[in-house]
């Protein structure tokens, strides 16, 4: 089997087990080239991104999907730290949250989120959203290279 394209590394930062499972399953169905890594809170996400502790061999993600409301360190704080870090700031970071509050939308763009998406409640709509993230970010968009 020829595999000239390296796998796409996606970091999902999410604390809801149901949403994690749904996202994993949908990506598996949609694009087998994706390696989905999961961090359950902001602290774990930053450890993964900075290759600390158990994450010493973690790959640099091509895309980050970030929930806002999480234990320990929430998504706003994690986003701020990612976008202030010279080595990490170019990684496209997509907010994926149930919050529809305008304050969260504006705040996220101020903190340099690349885009803001609402998690739908219905299963079908959730699957469609994951597909459109795949179609747009992982097929259409040009992402920064793994090493920069």
């Amino acid at each position: 089997m020829q595999d000239k394209n390296p796998p796409l590394q996606v970091l999902l930062v999410e604390d809801s087990p149901g949403d994690i499972r749904l996202t994993l399953e949908t990506f598996r169905d949609t694009n087998p080239a994706i390696r989905l890594h999961v961090a359950n809170d902001g602290v774990e996400a930053l450890a993964f991104l900075r290759q600390e502790g158990v994450h010493v061999s973690a790959p640099r993600p091509d895309l980050i999907l970030l929930d806002l409301n999480m234990p320990k360190m929430d998504g706003r704080e994690a986003l701020a730290q990612i976008k202030q870090d010279e080595g990490l700031k170019t990684i496209p970071t997509v907010i994926l949250t149930t919050s529809e509050a305008e304050a969260d939308v504006v705040r996220s763009y101020q903190l340099k989120a690349n885009c803001y998406l609402n998690k739908p409640v219905q299963l079908d709509a959730f699957e469609n959203l994951v597909k459109s993230i795949n179609d747009f970010w992982l097929n259409m968009a040009k992402l920064p290279p793994q090493q920069n």
């Binding site: 939308v105 504006v106 885009c115 803001y116 040009k142 290279p145």
Partner: protein, 157 residues
């Protein structure tokens, strides 16, 4: 409510293709055109003949432009407290990795390469519409601080 999109592009062919594609995919899009970086900045700052220009919901920005290029326009938008939340998508024929990296460093929201073929171009505009103007939650700007204008306080009665 119409969606205001500012397209910053100097190629007449690409302008026309983009206009036609948006007309086909979403009649609610009002596409405004700036032909170079100077015009784009005037539109965003509402200077001169752009006094009544709307705040764009989305900016589509070419990189290689006359006068002031797209990198400078991008840096200006992302440095301005009133404009920085406007999603700014780079739409360029450059596939140079240095342009991709530089654009994300300057906080472009996303980077897209312009395809050469008509059909692919149409598909790209369609997916910009499907993703950015349909899926994505864009910041509302009713309460945004606008450059050079006093902040409007809405009175609740």
């Amino acid at each position: 409510m119409p969606l205001q999109v500012l397209l910053v592009e100097d190629s007449p062919g690409d302008l026309r293709l983009t206009q036609e594609a948006f007309r086909d995919v979403n009649p609610f899009v009002r596409l405004h055109i700036a032909n170079d970086g100077v015009e784009a900045m005037a539109f965003l700052k509402r200077e001169g003949r752009y006094l009544d220009a709307p705040r764009p919901d989305l900016v589509l920005l070419d990189l290689n432009l006359p006068k002031v290029d797209g990198r400078e326009v991008l840096a200006y938008i992302k440095d301005d407290p009133g404009l920085k939340t406007i999603p700014t998508v780079i739409l360029t024929s450059s596939e140079a990795e240095s342009d991709v990296v530089k654009s994300y460093q300057l906080q472009a929201n996303c980077y897209l390469s312009k395809p050469m073929h008509f059909e692919a171009f149409h598909n790209l505009v369609k997916s910009i519409n499907d993703f950015w103007l349909t899926r994505v939650k864009l910041p509302q700007h009713r309460n945004a601080v606008e450059p050079g204008k006093p902040r409007l306080i809405e009175r609740q009665t």
